[in-house]
Amino acid sequence: MIPAKFDYVRPSTVDEAVAALAAGGDDAKVLGGGQSLMPVLRLRLGEPSVVIDTTRIDEMKGITDSGTAIVIGAGTTHDEVTKSALVRDHVALLAAATETVADRQIRHRGTMGGAMAHADPAGDQPPVALALDASFTIAGPGGRRTVPASEFFVDYFTTAVGPDEVLVSVTFPKYTGWGAHYEKFNRTAQAWAIVGASAAVRMDGGAIAEARIGLTNMGPGPVRASAVEAALIGASSLDAIAAAAEQAAEGTSPNADIHADVEYREHLARVLTRRAVAKAAGLA
């Protein structure tokens, strides 16, 4: 459990980090909270030439209110996200999903940006970002650019962040007053999700007026259950929600592993979506 040798730099600004990436070449790796990268290094699944530690970059930390959106620095820890009143009030679904990440110790070190950039298909927050139309601010040699969530997640462990770029922040539109629930299905408390269903709904007169549904571990990246979202509009009963949730597995392409095969994952997606929506809507 000893990593291979690597160089280590700790920039204090985003520009310095970008410069360090450029100097480090293709083998450079960005370190956030280290909860994904350190196991990779220790198991020698990766042997980067240089590790660029971003934990001392002030700009990448903290949660701010831009007026219409909540901006979360990539280096903000999961624990800070879950405890933030701004997040809880305006992006409640993100708080709910983040609360389920691993265990307390990991939530104190792991960062939201790190989890997004790592893009594990079993990650709890990427589907939330996708469902809520978050946008990602990325810095590189050519300056900064903003990428919508629908273009950010590319494939297994692959995002729009290029090898010479660093994720700076994630911006979530406000969903003030929406009901939210994350239904995570795993075998032990600290385990990754076998499947997860994130649901945010805006209620109007006892019926669902708008819905946002994201699925965890149902494909190479996060999945948005658009068909379910559309079918839910106007739903005001558990039966109506159940009927809409039947479409949850449509268009998904989950993997099979020792915990679940494809058929079972599809079944779980339907059941968990129904439960998540029902709870988000205050009907269960």
């Binding site: 075998r187 032990t188 385990a191 076998i194 020792i258």
Partner: protein, 791 residues
Amino acid sequence: MTEILDSTAAIGRPLRRKEDAKLLHGRTNWTDNIQLPGTLHMALVRSPMAHARITKVDLSGALAQPNVVAAYDAASLGDLNAGVPCVWPVTDDTVMPPFPALTGDKVRHVGDVVALVLATDAASAEDAIAHVDVEYEPLDAVINMVDAVSPGSELVHGDAANNTCYVYDLGGGYEDALAKHPDAVVVKRRFVNQRLVPAFMEPRAIVAAPMGMSEEITIWSATQVPHILRVLLTLVTGIPEQNLRVIAPDVGGGFGGKLQCYREEILCTQLAKKLGRPVKWTETRSEDMVATHHGRDQIQDIELACTPDGKMIGLKVDLLANMGGYLQIITPGIPLLGMFMYPAIYKMDAYQFQCTGVFTNTTPTDAYRGAGRPEATYAIERIVDEMAAELGMEPMAFRTKNWIQHHEFPFTTVAGLTYDTGNYEAATAKAMEMFGYEELRAEQKARRESGDPVQLGIGISTFTEMCGLAPSRTLGALKYAAGGWEHCTIRLLPTGKVELVTGTSPHGQGHETAWSQIAGDILGIPVDDIDVIHSDTGRAPYGMDTYGSRSLAVGGQAIKRAADRLIENARPIAAHQLECAADDLEFANGSFTVKGDPEKTVTLGALAWAAFSAHDLPEGVEPMINGEATVDPEDFSYPHGTHLAAMEVDTETGKVRVRKYVCVDDVGNQINPMIVEGQVHGGVAQGIGQALYEGVEYDEDGNMLTASLADYLIPSAADLPSFETGTTVTPSTTHSLGTKGVGEAGAIASTPAIINGIVDALRPMGVNDVLMPASPQNVWRAIQAAKGGAA
């Protein structure tokens, strides 16, 4: 919850553990903390393939790396490449293939060791192993036991036809007994008792060092068995026994996984001697998953016959037991430790048992908490529930009708064991009351009637087990190479303090506290004045170590006898001082007193100085006071208990929840009820781990799919309910302290209780078995299969 006491306390008191302050403050001495000048760090080249011929090993690349001092493969290690010992050939024709520390011809499981590198620091050694060039010629991997024993299968070892290590046939007249009952009801099942990883918290670690000018090599190892390890290292290396000292410093758990003479221990010892420098190795968790021996892994074909009114006639058991790629210390014998326990607490006319040991290209198996008895208990308690369902009987009523009643002890079972005592009625009655059995049955009925998606099941396990592997002559009859005795020396020091030297080797169990309580109670000396010396063959030269719930059951008796002897050795000195006959003295609370004259008294402490100064000892009495004893018990001990689990099953997803877990264990007299409770908690958690979470999975090429703790799931406190524990006390009559042993009971009892609970919840849906671990997918599949859907 037991009340915990800090005050001076004796046998039967829940004294706070002496060990804990040191452990909690980190003032510990783990093997990996030992740093000796000049140490060479060993890293091992492990096979990435399950079965392959080695066609080339080139060490030159590694030798050219910075800080590398030496590198070896099987050929270059030569005569020092000693074999890993197996001491339990269970039959006269058990195939015992060689198991060299470095394999030279073939690799036989992922993690098998091909070469090693020694460097002056651990990082350099780890870097260098990537530069050892090994070429493999892949062979078909033999993974599945049923395939392995089929004709034409690839052979793991050339001399083991059909990959069969042994066939042990106990015989038994099951068919004859069945023939007498033409109306018998027969239930047959195949249960799979899956492969588990011991997963102790502290990984294995070894430091072997030549000690200065002497010939001694000291070996520090995270082991459960320093004494056994010393003997075996001598036998395999040829280093004289008197030149080997084995120390198990603080050891963080074992569960049987550190009951071994591992290849890494052999290699460190040989290389330290050859190179004249300390050699150190600490395994990574990734190595531990493939290189520390595994447990369980049996396919159990079991058949139970009953009369139509529910009296057991006979039991037939036929096992396939996975040995893995090699035999380790007692690999072949593990299933036989279960052989005696299949009939469990039940009376029947006939019992037939056969076991086939099978070689496969997997990590070797060996002892894991319970070692054979959990497998047996699982199979019998599961099939008892299935038979009750077949007969339409309430499962507890069916057990009650067939178990040995308390007035029938001592009782010789159909398997040939004589249970000295037991009271299954009392433990069960108490457990059912604590559990609220009738109320939960009523809730179960209501949920069934309302079609609740969350169904409730009640799981029962009325278990017994055998602890304290002894007496030695019985072990000999089973072809086990060693004995089953235990030793204790108690030395009264000049200042009245006590050194208690035990041959047991605790690695988390709290022996320092419990042993102090036994000796303190008998000698009348405060527990804090007693220092327990253990786990060092230099300071505690005689012992058989800690495994199989033997430490109290066997070692406790040695403590009692040694303490009694110490008192008798002190008696003539006391009589001399008090000017009376030895017979006129009575001993109580640490003092000798002349009978009928309470003023004439002397404490052991005062006698200690007299025995040390030796200025005025009676004729023929030697200086110093001590007591020594080596006890070989007259029989095993038989703890028992009743465990009840209320299981909620989400029938939509297959996810289960342990809502309530009640257990009443009868472990006989208890030295420290708090430690007993802790052992039960840990054991129950581990047994639930097998039932719900744990299980090694291989792909068809023999790659372990559960090779990290992210995939091999171990329950934490967050996944388990608060256990409700109770006890009944039926003292053992074959053990001088009336104790029985508790280390494995929870792990033996809980697994079938959990699975029986799940099956009980789902039986109306047509489910009559669930594969372990009962993962959500396995439970959901069982429901789907019962519905006639895809499975």
